[in-house]
Amino acid sequence: MTEPNRKGDVWVIAEQNDGELHDVSLELLSKGRQLADTLGVRLAAVLLGAKVQEHAQRLVQHGADTVLAGEDNRLGHYQTNPFAKIVAGLVQKHRPQIVIFGATPVGRDLAPRVASAVRAGLTADCTDLDIGEHVEAHTNQKYENLLYQIRPAFGGNIIATIVNPERWPQMATVREGVMRMPDADVKRRGQITRFTPDLAASDFALKILEHQSAVRKVNLKAARIIVAGGAGVGSKENFRLVWDLANALGAAAGASRAAVDSGWIDKDHQVGQTGTTVRPALYIAIGISGAVQHRAGMSEAQKIVAINADPKAPIFAVAHYGIVGDLNRVVPMMIDAIKKRV
């Protein structure tokens, strides 16, 4: 067990794949910066890969004070054992007080390995992080400046705040898209420490023979406008209305889990707790009731238009414009109005 280091830095474990820096790394730096400033410590990023110099600079421009950049040609693609060994070793050596990972497939694999190796606590799939105090009920012991690891639980119906008072570092994975990605400050300067990880051939138990990437059909996170359909749309044929409105607006098509589970649209389009978290300028929810799991992924849109036949649908609670009516009539009206005006 690593003893708590109350003056330790805040760490973000950055992620790259196929030579591209993952967006979530930059999102985490935004939150990590806030946490580090609150604690009065430095924000460090850890980046491992075959070539990391260029990305290390980007991490500085997005808020990191220091970057630990480990380079090895064998680290071009993620592998559990070597990555976990390196990160756990760095944690034990430098003793950060907070370590955050993206809740990506890589982060979800790596974080528990590291937590187990250093005997630390880990909270998965957080949607927010904060700093605060905690009083242990049984002992009345007070802890200052703990990491509040905030995440939905029980299907998103409650929000739990988790703390890790003793077994540090405090570790969490954070969902993609829930933190804002800051603009780069190209004038920002930081310290980049390059190192060659100490890895043995035996650390690479797996040999990657071939690497294939599935190309995502839609980038919802980058979409300025999203038109999303839910169970209320009724059928795959009727989902055409969602596509038509999206095309008229030059928008991306999204969907609730119900629509995806019904096979009306691909899972890449799913918005919500088990899909993508989005923050578009405009989100048009068509036939989406607005279950808490869906709202968790879209309620931060700047403008929300809800179209639903049920006036009591929960989606109206987060809407800016609400149309209670038959979507088969309303959506064509919208398309018509857009074509006349744009």
């Binding site: 119906n157 705040t161 008072p165 414009y321 309303v330």
Partner: protein, 88 residues
């Protein structure tokens, strides 16, 4: 019906286990000692993380602009969204 004694239950368990083993169907059960588990790290008490607070998700209706499902009202809404540069 009288409750079975612990001895009777143990004997029945042993009998059934023997029957399964004879058919090659018995799945050996590992004990804490077998896996050298440290109870300090097991269960809720062994978890490094503690739940500090639980909050129910409450819908906070901030109020929305109701748009009638008519051509005119829908066109006005689209106009507003264009005017404030949300669309376009």
């Amino acid at each position: 019906m009288p409750a079975a004694t612990p001895e009777a239950v143990a004997a029945e368990v042993e009998k059934r286990a023997a029957a399964l083993a004879a058919k090659g169907l018995l799945i050996p059960q590992w004990t804490l000692d077998d896996i050298r588990a440290d109870l300090q790290w097991c269960g809720r008490d062994g978890s490094p993380t503690k739940v500090k607070r639980i909050q129910s998700v409450i819908l906070k209706g901030s109020g929305f602009k109701k748009v009638e499902p008519t051509k005119e009202a829908v066109a006005d809404m689209i106009h507003e969204l264009i005017e404030d540069h949300t669309i376009g």
